[in-house]
Symmetry: D2
Subunit: 385 residues, 4 copies
């Protein structure tokens, strides 16, 4: 089926956030050979023959409401211990170039136009970006803050209803879904890196299939859930009975503040809760807390306590503590997903890409949550392309 | 290829140890429907069609130098919190029956006869056990204390040399290997549940193949290494670079005392050390400690500290603490292994059974240490039988 | 000032709960020399000359709405791993004796009499218990489930107002406070072992002082807060700046179910939150969660994550995990408190006993939360008696 | 007794190590008001009236065999995440000034002169430093790598024997003790911040008393032992029985490499082992490991597992993980100790200063290891000055 060795655009929704900034810094540092491709799944030997675009093929742009320019944001990430000070001078040009491609973002609360007009503007931004850089494909990746969960709209059910509603109303789709709509209209793939609604609506799925574009999601698996998806299959494979699985997540900075909002946390908790019962085949007692601990900044800590039993009802426990830097974990996955989705589009895939479930807490189009089996499925899929 | 639904003997070397006692208690309780088959891999739906002997088909015997009878040992395990008090009365008859089949064990230091004579005695015990109970097959499982590591003997290289040496000398094979020799001579499968030398000698492998019997090993994966074999593939699949992996194991009771002996610990550490570098493909800094903490009794605690980095060299950590009861974890695996090895023998397998690597820290005949892939290989093997 | 070597009654509110049952089992086992006085502060050499009543001097009774008799409750605690099976036969008589002194408890929702009448009944129970056993003193200890927090009643402010309200209304005091009222009326000391309101009302304090009886509270320090009160002074003494202190408590059984009720948890969290800012002298970011994890039974696990900084703003962390059995920790403190409060009464102390703050999360009459200084204050107080 | 508000020299043995460099950076940043005095015990309000020299009064010099200048060493500590990049320019002059006062250090293996001559050179360096800066007092602080433990020399027993031996032999005292000897000869106080032998020899104590100079030690309490000294008194105060206390220390960089040497680790382990049994009053099972994990750099992680029991023999556990930066913890204590020892000398104290035991794993002249009581003793001592 060939390869995807052409210029590929990566359009970041939330383009001046920590994840996006680290993504652009990372791509620049990788391209310049200043840092090894740690955390980049697409760079593993298993994917050498997958025909993926290289990191050097990627061009960055995006939307954001924040106005702090990327070079300044990168300096802030140096202070926070995410970006090494020694890299800053070497990536400044790349940051400036990406920053020049950032457009004032997403639907503002004050915007009262019908959403169809907004979507047309967004799609025009994407098309103009593609043309300006002579890109073969553009992949839109949502790395904006998690949205509040909202009640369903009847127009979400079918594409004609959606088109009709968008042409009249300013309040049909949440921002993440409006971006997905605009992406599909512009012929771009779309990635839900957050738990926001995004492309997960029947009407949007219909549009993606009709437009012949792939999408993937949702909610990048970068911490507690990653570990859960590695450990839950262990208990299943050994027939050990998990009695309870409790977790506490301490998140700093913006992510913590967003998720401390109970509605956003509801989105997050729903997607975090699937790995364990799917692997085990039965429901398990225990809660997951997400706390905003502002002083942790870019860092997050998760503690999980698993109570299980062995033969004769003997009770035992496993605990783990994960201390990670969200941006350093997420950024390489953003690069991976842009490359895999671009490759899927080149191969003619339309609609959700189940094989990309490996990257997500709530894998679209797949019921498998076990990490190793997800990896094996990803590898098998690329081999079959 | 049919099934293995016939009476099968399980001959436990170290038959009055905690693991063996829990195995016999567990089998009796399972047979009587008094406890669910938690920890029993062979009872998972994936193996329903594998044609395994049932737990009810198993008959127990063994060797031991300890003289405390199994019912008494079970009482001690009630005190230790391993066996529930309520079960004791219901399994007493089964314990007494198994105890009646225990022979005074292994080569004693004072025994100066050539080892060929000892082996003949052991093999005769096995044959007599098989006949007395009309068993189709007997599987010998070594659950004795870990032996000191000793220097190689030239006769280990080839079977004729070994036979010759055994006929003359009292000091050719360590006990675990002498048992393997006797098992193969008697047409029995053999399982190395400990890190002792056991069947892992070229001459013994030659004998097993010639005798048409399977063997499996070595060193049951019941704690820290089990978790490692679930977590190391996570770092590999996500291309995260592990910088160091350090571990401390606190073991109580007999196991701790044995492994605090530096020579025995050497055996143990060698087999514990393989999961991580195999999964990652590169060596990793860090030590593994095994401490004897007598007061922990039947319990063990492992703490592992993993330092890793993500994109841009950002350093993160994962720690886990495993608090387990060794016997409650090992006993169901002993039952599993007896059943799978018996099935392998029924299917005509001779020599090591790589598909059983799932159960072991140091899987014989297999380079795969990742738990989920080991499980998938086990399942595939049973389907192909 | 002499000693308190006379028969002393311990009247347990919630007399068939796990803490109360373990208290009676423990006292019986200690009296019979079947177990060492582990966890009993009053048995430390520092208090040899404090003139405390001995454990052998204690006689047990109480109130409860539960009807399961103490010997049966003790059997349940054997199943739960709290009470050793070997003790049961030796303490059965003591349990039966204590059970015979349990009266149908606390104000029932259906009881619509003015609370003055209920209080008179409760006080009569106490007086009758004292007389029946020829006791010199009785100490009432509240070990019932934590009450919901309720809004203040104007009659709580002064004793005459309270008396008036009680004579008319069925809904003036929460049960814990009604018990305190009855205790003081009957000339008995009172201990708030829970975070419920209890004696902490101005009108009740007035009554205690007038009646010449001491009281102590509140909320026994048996787990996470105990460790906090040992660790927070470390940061203070070393001038290390604590940036955040987050905690998660997983509680099983009855305690977890009660505290999962948000109103009860509010009581609990208020008393748990004081140790850290008092020791440090400044407020600290971070939440405390209390989860009901029913399967944990009598056990509780707390994980605390403390982020702090050293010189030059370098960030570091301390984490701890406490895995405890609530009843085994609380029961010896109940014995201690009965003995110390009885001693205080013998010495003529009336009102709150600040020196007993050592035992509590929310020490009445004391601003000191650091454990070692609380201990030193307790020792100094007994020496001065 | 007045105050000590005069210029005070701090002579660092190992003056270009990480602790010394951080000390000089920290003092400069504190003096310039660029960082708050976090970790500085002497800056707590309790010591406002203690008459201590201020940080601005301190002048730095020292000995080292390493030739990398302090400004360069500080840059390395920026890379390691210990010193904030923003501070570097502001403290460069202070670093250069301190570096100009560093003399080529300690006895080299190749030096075959009698040690009396070496000591005279070292003492001359101290006297010259004092005169050059018009210092009232100089305190020598040993922050060099931990020495191997060596066998006793008969001349250590009495000062005349020592003088005689030093005048003849090149191999009487280990370097740390030779520095203490030179310090006392030069009328300087001495601090053992490491577990090396230092001043802890009868002959050196005799000299200190005769010379009228104070000394303090040994082995700064900056991590695992600090936490132990806060937690062990908790178990003691609550009469809980500690069954085992096991610890693993993962140390990076130089410290780890030194202590991985079994002889040096022997020194370290001896001093680390005292806090728990002293607090509890009985010996406790369990080992302490010190691992060199080079990749951890300036960071260290300690995990401790404490198994204890409550009433009725119920077993529970407490675990903690300490993740700290050694230099950021040690540097403010070096400043504290220089100030307190200078103050002691001003007040006429000669010999060991038991009240400074608060700072040390192995407190000289004191049997108290509990942190809070040590603090209270320190405060009481300064008040009595």
């Amino acid at each position: 089926m060939g390869t995807d060795r052409s210029a590929v655009g990566v359009w970041l929704v939330g383009a001046r956030g920590s994840v996006a900034t680290t993504t652009v810094v990372g791509a620049a540092a990788l391209r310049a050979g200043l840092t090894p491709p740690v955390g980049c799944v697409a760079e593993l030997p298993d994917f050498d023959a997958a025909g993926l675009p290289t990191i050097g093929d990627l061009v960055f742009g995006g939307h954001d409401v924040i106005e702090t320019a990327l070079p300044k944001r990168a300096e802030q990430l140096v202070q926070a211990g995410v970006v090494p000070a020694r890299l800053l001078d070497h990536v400044r040009d790349d940051l400036a170039a990406a920053d020049a491609e950032i457009r004032p973002g997403a639907p503002l609360p004050s915007d009262s136009r019908p959403q169809a007009l907004l979507a047309a503007d967004l799609a025009a931004d994407l098309a103009s970006f593609r043309e300006r850089h002579g890109l073969d494909r553009v992949v839109v990746v949502n790395v904006a803050s998690t949205e509040r969960r909202r009640s369903d709209h009847p127009a979400w059910a079918r594409l004609p209803l959606l088109e009709q509603a968008l042409s009249r109303s300013a309040d049909v789709l949440p921002p993440s879904s409006l971006y997905a709509y605009a992406a599909f209209r512009a012929g771009c793939g779309y990635v839900d890196f957050t738990p926001s609604t995004g492309a997960r609506l029947p009407a949007l799925d219909e549009l993606a299939r009709r437009a012949g574009v792939p999408y993937a999601g949702s909610d990048g698996k970068t911490g507690e859930t990653l570990v859960k998806s590695a450990l839950a299959p262990m208990f299943a494979a050994r027939a050990l009975r998990v009695r309870s699985w409790s977790g506490t997540n301490l998140l700093g900075g913006g992510d913590g503040a967003t998720l401390a909002d109970p509605d956003a946390a509801a989105s997050k908790n729903a997607s975090k809760g699937l790995a364990v019962p799917q692997a085990l085949g039965y429901p398990v007692e225990g809660r997951v807390h997400i706390d905003n601990v502002a002083e942790l900044g870019e860092w997050k800590t998760a503690w999980d306590h698993i109570s299980f039993e062995g033969l004769l009802g003997v009770r035992m426990t496993l605990q783990f503590t994960w201390q990670g830097c969200d941006s350093a974990l997420a950024a390489p996955l953003v690069l991976d997903l842009a490359r895999f989705v671009s490759r899927a589009q080149a191969a003619g895939v339309a609609g959700p890409v189940p094989a990309l479930g490996f990257f997500f807490k709530d894998p679209l189009g797949s019921a498998e949550h076990g990490l190793v089996r997800q990896y094996d499925a990803l590898r098998a899929w690329t081999r079959a392309l």
